[in-house]
Structure formats: C-alpha cells, structure tokens
C-alpha cells in the first residue's frame, strides 16, 4: 500500500525557517499499528523519497496517542532566503504520498 492511502492527514510546515516537519496522522489505530510494526517508515527511506542525504532527516518519531508520525527535515534553503521555493514549507509532503508501506 502507498502511504497516501493510509492517512487522514499528511501535511508539512516549517518548525522554524531551517526545518520543515511532516505530520502523518493515520486513519485508524489498526493502520497506525501496522505501519509502525512494518518498520518501513524510516529516516533512510524518507531520505530516499526526498532524494536528500540521510543526515538531513533529523527525526522520525511515532506518536501513539495521536496515531501519528512526525518527521523533521533540514531545509536546503531556509524559508524566504534567495532561491527559496516554499516559504511556509506547506507543500513539501508530496514525496511521501507514494511511499510503499
């Protein structure tokens, strides 16, 4: 299954001008448990989906209470600096939509 088919929310936003975070909220508890148990949502696979070095994926945290996963990625260009593509970081979730779980 693709990640995009398993979620209620998949969004991105800056945590600060240098870091974009992706929130994934799964549609139900069973789906969340299955994804967590699969071990397929890792920093290495996230880095591959974004075609970035793994060091730029700062965190992948599972959050049981919200049936959610939090990912933090160091931005290439800080928000609003010359060459920036997304000041708020709101459209940076897309490479995860097709991640195979």
């Amino acid at each position: 299954m693709k990640l995009g088919e398993l979620v209620k929310v998949l969004r991105s936003k800056n945590a600060d001008p240098f870091t974009v975070t992706v929130d994934i909220v799964f549609r139900d508890e069973e789906t969340y448990r299955r994804v967590k148990a699969s071990g397929r949502l890792t920093a290495a696979r996230v880095a591959k989906a974004y075609r970035i070095p793994e060091e730029r994926v700062l965190k992948v945290i599972f959050y049981d209470q919200a049936l959610a996963v939090k990912i933090a990625i160091l931005r290439e260009t800080p928000a609003g600096h010359p060459g920036c593509r997304d000041v708020y970081g709101c459209q940076q979730h897309v490479p995860l939509l097709d991640l195979e779980i």
Binding site: D16, V25, I61, A68, L74, R85, D98
Partner: protein, 459 residues
C-alpha cells in the same frame, strides 16, 4: 483561586476575530484574554525591513472588537504585535489602540514591553564572553553568535518568556499588556504561573490556545478557543458551537509546527508531554492532565536577526511551445552562459523555478516531467537594484530570442504576462541570527513602560 478561565479570540492578530465566538466567550467570564500577534513564519523580509505582513485595517478591526469589551469588563488582555514585533511596529499598534480607545471613549492603562534588542546590548554580552548557540544545526547559521552577525543584522528581536510579562503585571496592574516579539506561550502562561498554577499544565494549555481553534475540529486559526485551568488538569473547548474539541484534534495539535511531539523547549526547561492524557468529557470538551514542565536550572531566550542579502528582480514567463519545453534545461544553461560572458563580476545569483515541472519541490520532486505548459519564475539577487534588474532584463531578451536546436519560434520563445517584464522585488533579507542567548535575569533585555490611553485624555 481554584480555577482560571482563559480565552484566545483567534490564532493570530490580523487573521480576523469572529464576533459571535467572542461574545459567547465573554458570557463565560474569562479571567483574562490573550492573543498572539508576532511570527517569523512569513520569512526574514519582515524582520529585516521591520514591516508587517498584515493589513493594519484588519488589526484595528480585531482589536476594536476585543479591547473595549475587555477593558470595560475588567478582563486583562495580553497580546503581542505585530509581524516580527520590532519596536516601530509595537508603536504603530499602540497608536491603533489609542485611536480605538479614543473613538469608544474608554480609558486604559497599557503596559508596553519591547522585544527588540539593541546591538549595543548584544555587543556587551559577547564581550563578556556569553556564548549563544544556534538553535538549529543548519549550515547557513554560525554555531555560536559572533560580533559580525550582530553588526550585519538590520533588526534583532528576542522572544521574551512569561517573566517580563509577570513583572509588568505586578508592577503596573495594567488593563492591557502589549508586547513586541514574545514566545506565544508566554502570553497565555504568564498569569497562570504568577498565580501558582502548575507550569506544565499552564504551558500545555498555552500551547493549545495560542493557535486559537486550530486544535478544534474543524480546525482554523481564525476562531477562538476557551480553557479552564485547574490545579491538576485543564479543560479546553471552542466557544463556536460549529466546532468541537476532540481527543484526536487536541492530541494531534501537539504535533503542529514542532520537531518533537513529546517535548517542547522553553526558556528554562522543557514541556514534557510523554505522560499526558486526553479525555473526552463531553461532546465538545477535552480534559488534559499529566503534562509536566521540567526545569533545567538555566535560562535562555531565543534571539532572531536578519541581514540584507541584496536586491531582488523578478520575472515571470510562460512557455507553451513543445520544442521549447523539451529543450528547457539547455536554453536556461545557454542563457546563463551568455549572462556570465556579459556581466563579468559574479556578484549576482540567479534562480529558476519551473512551475509545471518541479517548481515547488526542486530536486525532491518525485515526478519532474514538464506539463504541456510551464511557468518560469526567474529570481535575480544582486548587490544593487540596478545590477539585479540589469541581469534580469538581459535574461529576458536572451531567453526570448535564443536559438535552440529544433526552434521554429523565431519571433520569440516565451509569453510575458506583464509590462514591465521585470519586476522590482525590493530588498532581500536572510535570517543570520537564530540563537539561544543565556541570561542571568529573564527581564534583562526587555524594556517596559506604562502608557495611559487615550493620550492627553481629560475626563
């Protein structure tokens, strides 16, 4: 006091405060109202240029709804304003407050707290050997703050914690507290901490309320949220009957805009949500307990600064011709080669964003295939306005008439929507300070004063 009732009329000043929700909340008799109004989300331009990304008209409208109601009922109102929260913008909002109170014939005592730091102050700190470490390990930031970063910045602000607000409330007993740049949670947690409520619960409540009803279902930052803080828990619900707070909406909010859902750094410790529990007490209300604040025995404020990075010229072009689109990379490379030939000194930077291909995500785009039509956004950043406009204008004529293999459009290659073709994007700024400054005294950098409004009023 057994409980404290708190209202956030919206998630941000200038996003539009809904009147109905405010009136409902006022019937619940809040002990104070707070509203965040500063943010770095719109990027470094606003801090660098000390301007705001909001309409002053909407700010006045929002404040006109809240201020007279709060002052006449004796409900303290604590808010930060506006944009980057530099001193000039605090003074601008103070003038708006003056106008509102004059028009309504209401008097108020306003405690005004500045969040802007003088270079002199920071120079002294650095000379004393204070080490301010960067808050994010990004290569564009120096690991520790240097004198030259301070000198280069055009404006520097610090996010005050709850302590300067508590101090101003104790000292002045004001009707209104207006701050410059502040921690959003400080606006909501100052009074609870002052009154001896649990700091963990106060900070977590503040974290939820600061975004208004973003933690409600359906979520938005342009509606309000109400909380009742007690000794061992707090309740949270939106006054608007069209929304409700659910365990999922409230728990998920602790994900928002942060890198770690269990822990949030504060000036003197961190908020630990590892043992927080959420309970649905009725259809619209969630009870939160178990959040703790862990004190680390040292105090730091987050310091933010921006410096001038140059001047920006912007050009927008559309392309529809299939041969042009399939040769796009060659065309842009060849155009840049000609730019380098003509403009000698490489003191300019050129960025292309190809909308319809990978404009939003660049190298991370999973499907970098061009559509049948693409938009090309050209950004040139150079040391001067003339240089930036000059490079962009030369790129205009070069791309328009470039001969590429398979070209049949010999009269012109691209569609420009505007005349002028090249737009002056004004000065460009970049964040160069994003550091934690250790303080012995949390009040030290923040100037405060009491202002009685309307100015020159005689009853």
């Amino acid at each position: 006091m057994k409980e404290l009732k708190v209202y956030a009329p919206a998630g941000h000043l200038g996003h539009g405060v809904p009147r109905d929700s405010l009136l409902r909340a006022l019937r619940l008799e809040p002990d104070f109202i707070a509203l965040q109004g500063t943010s770095m989300d719109p990027g470094p331009y606003y801090l660098g240029s000390a301007t705001m990304p909001h309409s002053l008209e909407v700010i006045k409208r929002d404040l006109s709804l809240i201020v007279p109601e709060a002052v006449e009922r004796g409900i303290p109102f604590i808010f930060s304003a506006t944009g980057p929260g530099t001193d000039n913008l605090v003074e601008l909002v103070l003038r708006v407050l003056d106008e509102i109170l004059r028009e309504k014939g209401v008097r108020a005592r306003v405690a005004v707290l500045s969040g802007e730091l003088s270079k002199e102050y920071l120079r002294r700190k650095l000379e004393e050997g204070v080490e301010a470490r960067r808050l994010t390990p990004h290569p564009s930031l120096p690991e520790t703050l240097r004198l030259r970063d301070v000198e280069e910045a055009t404006h520097i602000v610090a996010q005050m914690g709850p302590e300067p607000i508590i101090d101003a409330i104790k000292r002045f007993r004001p009707d209104i507290v207006l701050t410059g740049r502040a921690l959003d949670v400080a606006l909501f947690s100052a009074i609870p901490i002052m009154m001896g409520f649990d700091k963990g619960l106060a900070m977590h409540m503040a974290k939820i309320l600061e975004c208004g009803s973003l933690a409600a279902d359906p979520p938005t930052t342009s509606d309000g949220m109400f909380a009742v803080l007690r000794r061992d828990h707090f309740l949270v619900f939106p006054p608007n009957p069209k929304r409700r707070a659910t365990v999922a909406s409230v728990a998920a909010h602790s994900l928002y805009e942060r890198t770690d859902p269990f822990m949030e750094a504060g000036p003197d410790g961190y908020l630990d949500l590892g043992n927080t529990t959420y309970e649905q007490v009725d259809e619209r209300t969630v009870k939160v307990s178990g959040s703790r604040y862990v004190e680390l025995g040292r105090y730091t404020v987050k310091v933010e600064g921006a410096r001038l990075a140059g001047h920006r010229a912007v050009m927008v072009m559309g392309a529809r011709d299939p041969a042009f689109i399939s040769s796009l990379d060659y065309i842009l490379e060849e155009s840049m080669r000609r730019v380098r030939q003509v403009f000698g000194r490489q003191d300019y930077r050129v960025y292309f964003r190809i909308y319809g291909r990978d404009g939003v995500m660049g190298g991370s785009e999973p499907l970098p295939r061009p559509a049948h039509e693409v938009g090309i956004l050209v950004e040139v950043v150079a040391p001067s306005r003339e240089r930036a406009l000059g490079v962009a204008l030369f790129l205009r004529s070069t791309i328009l008439h470039l001969d590429f293999p398979g070209c049949i459009t010999t009269a012109g290659n691209v569609a420009f929507p505007f005349s002028p073709v090249v737009l002056d994007g004004g000065p460009v700024y970049e964040f160069n300070i994003w550091h934690a400054l250790p303080l012995d005294n949390p009040l030290e950098p923040f100037k405060q004063k009491l202002v009685e409004l309307p100015r020159g009023w005689r009853a």
